[in-house]
Amino acid sequence: MTRRVAILGAGPAGLAAAEAALSAGADVVVLDEGERIGGQYWRHHEQLTDRRMQHQHARFARLGRVAEAATVHREASVWRVDTAHGIRVHALVGPADGSDREALTIDADALVIATGAHDRALPVPGWTLPGVITAGAAQALAKRDGAIVGERTVVAGSGPFLLPVADSIALAGGSVAEVVEAAGVAAIARGWGRAPWQLAGVAGKAGELAQYAGGLLRRRTPFRFGQAVTRIHGQGHVEAVTVQHVDAQWRPVAGTERTVTCDSVALGHGFTPRLEAAIQAGCDLSPERFVVVDDRQATSVASVFAAGEVTGIGGADTALAEGAVAGFAAAGGSLDDRRISGAVRARKRMHAFATRLATHAIGPGWTGWLDEDTIICRCESVTRARLSEYAAASSRAMRLATRAGLGACQGRTCGRTVETLIAADVDFDRRPVLSSIRIGELARLHHAEHKEQE
């Protein structure tokens, strides 16, 4: 009998998994919340996307054609994953946040979790002002909508992702005042300059980054190292930011403040993996809070595999390689099979690249730029001072009293930050309902007949 492989997510990891699972003879079902396949990396719209923002487009086009041999459910909000008695995935299918979406239940022999990651933006005084968005939002709006959030944007945070973001803003018609990277020049030279032969195999990645750096030079966009946006100013909207030197621990250095005029800010301090499906499936997590996988991308749960950013932040090329291995293994293929040896080698090369990203890891000193009245939980407008009142209480008491992390986003935006500030794990990623669905829809499911996939 043909093995059925269900794949959560149609970004690079999920699409590569679909391609590999199909090649190994599986019946493949892909579920993705987006209107179109591609995930965040290949977020696009047929008419609105500027082709210059779409990297590795040929690869995407090929994966897209391959995916036609799979059953792809777009606009599918997966809200529950059961692994206790075989694998069963529950989703609602229909336009985003609609009120009468269709219920879908998929039974499968194996599951590939490729749910990706979203931006992590650290709180900064003034970060709730209109005009402050995440770096990923700037990228998504530019790519998907051809839209910019302001005329003059400061792009700030850490990591190589800031470069394509600045590039997209400029291509979409905005101007980038500065790109502000918290990692210092010495740290970057140490992190990226060490053992350069390991990076020889990722020339494509280096070329892509060099292209963005060239764009910055051409447009005379200043790139600052070892600095951070430590305050955002404005009455009702962004008018300026304070940019300040930070030390190796990201502590702001007094006396180095400068004011930069701008009307918008794009913040990106790395990424948070989207773990809720993996946690619900029962997968073990590492102390660093990524899904633990073996050489076959198999998780601790039988027949459940994971690939891409949920297993460690590594970017699209890493996700493509891991996804291919995961899909092939989920379909019952062996890693000794020659058809998958290229992906296994690519995965090894890309992991050498991914470890360098540690250079840009958040330093503990960033809390030094917070004020007592800085909002930490955006949904419930909970300030740092309010959190501090409950620092000694149990995390449950803190949440119930302050409502931090209990708002509409369920701690997705502030969860890790709240944990840092109260110095305790709260386990915000453990969510009984995996995606945003309406209570009415949930209630109707009791009566609705489940639509079984053939």
Partner: protein, 80 residues
């Protein structure tokens, strides 16, 4: 090709296929919601943070960054 929606009693035109957030930003709107008495607009842009929610044709809590704008959509502010 363009798409027209109503927001704040005004007709706003956007490009066909844009999200509601894209249409509002294109018209120079940066905020469309109140949270704790302060203006908010789009933040994460990918459907995670719920900061950009609006009421669309009477249905509450629709993420403006995820919902494609359709001709004649009536978009209203929300406050929390």
């Amino acid at each position: 090709m363009s798409v027209r929606i109503r927001f704040d009693g005004e007709e706003i035109a956007g490009r066909d296929g844009q999200t509601i957030a894209g249409v509002l930003l294109g018209a120079g709107r940066r905020s469309w919601r109140l949270a704790g008495g302060a203006e908010r607009g789009v933040f994460c842009g990918i459907g995670v943070c719920q900061d950009c929610v609006v009421t669309v044709n009477g249905i509450e809590n629709v993420r403006a960054c995820q919902r494609t704008a359709l001709e004649g959509d009536v978009v209203e502010r929300e406050a929390r």
